[in-house]
Each structure stands twice: as C-alpha cells, then as structure tokens.
Amino acid sequence: MAIHPDQRYLEGLLNNDNQLIEEVYRLFSPGVRIWIVQNSGSEDDAADIFQESLVDIYNQAKYKGLELTCPFQPFLLLVCKRKWLNEVKKRGLRPVTKSFDALSDHGEDVFAAAERVGMEEEKARLFLQQFQRLGEKCREILRLSLSGDRQEKIAEALGVTYGYLRKKKSECMATLMSYVSEKWVV
C-alpha cells in the first residue's frame, strides 16, 4: 500500500520538527479537545491524551517502523479515542456517548492501524512497568546486558564472570516473564 503524504507528520515527530508538530497541534487538537470534553473529560485530560497519543505514534514509528498509509487526522483521532475510552473505563466515568464526526467516512485500515498502535504501546508500557518491579541488581544486569555491548566486557565491568552474568541475566528475564505473564496474554 502506498505511503500517504501525511507521513510527513510522523517524520516531523521523529525529527522533532517544531513547525510540523505545531501544525499537528493547530490542526488536530481542537477536535480532540471538544470530543473529550463532551465525553466526561476536562481540558487537561484532552491535553494529556493528545500528548500521550503523539508519543505512542512516535514510538511506533521509531521502533516498529510504522508508516502511514491513510490520512493522519483520522488515525490520530482514533489513537486518542482508544486511549480515552480506556481511561473512562479505568476511572469509572460515564460511558462515552458522543461520536467523533471526523471519523465517519474512513475505512477499516485506519481503525486497524490505530488499534495496532494502542495495543503495541500498552504492551510496551506493561513490559517497562514490570521491569521496574525487579530488584536493582537485576535491572542493572538487564540494562547492561541488553545494551548491545559485548557480554564479556559487561561481566568485567560488573566484576563477575561471564558465566555468572549469563546465569543472572537468564534468571532476571525469567522473573520478568513471570511478572508480565500475570498481566498479559500474548
């Protein structure tokens, strides 16, 4: 599928292009603000959701090679919408009743792309949250072991043998897997 010209907004986020990011805010934030405020949220909620959605899109573009094959506006609105619906559920607010007018004439691919971003980012957040539950030693070992540096060098830096480092890394990852498995089904 062809890349949509609005891919430039993703490039703008990746390159921290002030002008393009400002364009995103100028063009698309009013719609999100109105919709969230109409659906039990505050202006601050809208600002948070808008900002977090852009960070999610940045992460997906950076780490998962996300490319836009649809216009940016409905895609962004759907990412925001999904995020706000989760928040409404979490806070036990009144269910969302107003629909997003700007989304009425867009195809399934936009919904699928936005859903994928939401799911992937929820998963990444969970992984990182559970990582924080590990002890300090485990976090340090994993942080270093997964940094791409040679394992022998890392073992030396930590003052342990290579075999010990490998064993500890495996134990720490196994613990992390069990933490994640408690919360997530692949």
């Binding site: 934030s29 009013p30 601050d44 940045y58 998963k123 942080r143 270093l144 990852m173 196994a174 897997m177």
Partner: protein, 272 residues
Amino acid sequence: MAIYTNEDIIRYVEGELSSEEKQKMEDDLRADVSLAAGVELYRQLKETLEQRLPADEGATAMQQTLRDMRGKYFGGAAGGGASGGGADVTSPSGEEPGAGGKVVKMKVRADVFRKYVVGLAAAAAILFAVVMLWPSDYLNTYGKTQMVGSAERGEGNDSLMEQASAYFNAGDFEKALPLLDQAFRKDSTNQTALFYRGVALLHTGGVDAARSDLLKVYAGGSLFQYEAAFYLALSYAQQKNNAVAKEWLDKIPAGAPGADKAAGLRRKLGVN
C-alpha cells in the same frame, strides 16, 4: 510432553540448548500453543527492552516540544506553565466558536490553579530539600571535577568539547549535557565526552543514564576507568546503598586517578 520453565524458553531463544533438547522443544512447540506464546513473549520482551531501556535523547527533545505546544494550544494548569502565559493567551488561531464563554471558566480555574501552586510549591520545597540538598551533599563534597581540554579530536568536536568544558567547569551541567551528548554521538569512541556526560547526568539527576555511561567508561579501560568507578560509587552512596558503593570503591587501586577522593568517601561512609 515435557514441562518447560521460562528459563528453558530463554535458553531456546538464545540458542543455548543442545541439538537434542532443541529438537524436542521444537516438536513440543508445534503442539503446545502456550509454549509458543511463551517463546513469543520472551522475544517481544527482549526486543522492547533492547529498544527502550537506553536513554532516547530524540524522544526527550520531542516530548519537550509537545509540552511547549500543550501550553500554547490547551488551557488549564498543566499547559499554563509551558507557555508562560495565563489562561487568557491560550486560544490558538482557528479556535472553535464560543471561546468567550471559556474566559469565565478559565478565571475560576485560575483560583483553583493558585491553590495548586501554593501546594505544589510547598511540596516542591520539601522535594528539593530531600532529593537535591541531602543527596547532592556527597556529590558536592566529593564529586567535583574539572573538564580538561581535548587536543586530539576533530575540528567540530573540539569546539563542542571546549564549549561543554566551559559550562561544565562553571557547574552548569544542564547546558554542558547536550554538548557532551552531541560530541559523543559524533564520535562514539570519545571516552572523554562519555565520562563527563555521565558525571553531568549524575549532577542533573539522571542516575540510571549516568550509571550506564560510567559503566561503559569503566569497561572501556581508558584513563577515566577508575574515575568512572569512583562516580559509580558516588551514585550508590547518594542513595545510601553503601554496600554497592563500597564494591565500586574496592575496584579503585591505590595511586589510580580518583583514589584520593575514593579514600575520602570511604571514610565518610565508614566502609574502610
């Protein structure tokens, strides 16, 4: 069918099983959906951590831009700080009709905001005292160092390092940090930039990122190796983790750069 632990899964993905064990596991993988899900979970987990644990300077810069825009395009307490303006300057061009009604709402918010500010200021003062004053005691007592000039770098990096050193030596670590970062990204063998970036990060509160830099410097075996060990010790001392601080101090031999400061810190921590 065999029962597999998470560690078996890790060994399989890391290619650490014998050929018989691997064959057996692959047979079981075809029949056991939950085992296959475990393998997939480990792969995703590892990939995510590899990608997202290292500090992402690009994301930090982009998020700062988002905070600035938030202040400009959204009202409310959180956004007001970023734009530096009050509630009356938050209307972007192309604002939907009815903005006049919002002014009243924003005035009410301003009162609430003021209360928040008072509360936040009190909380911030306590936080400042706890996080900055107490821990930086060790940092200010033992963590002083001066950046020395660098003569062997390329032209562009020389100028960067000079600017960084001016800020660093003046104690303006916030300004030194991006320059050191830039210098290191231009030349990833620049151990001087990496070491001082680590120290600057420590001074600006980025303890995890500081440790990551300093560990690399220590592992690199350059002239900064033992100084890096000293700052690693200092980072743990700040968090009252004297046992790990001592482990790092123990790595510094007598006569090595940083040995004098290490001896001082040892005495202070009582870990001789």
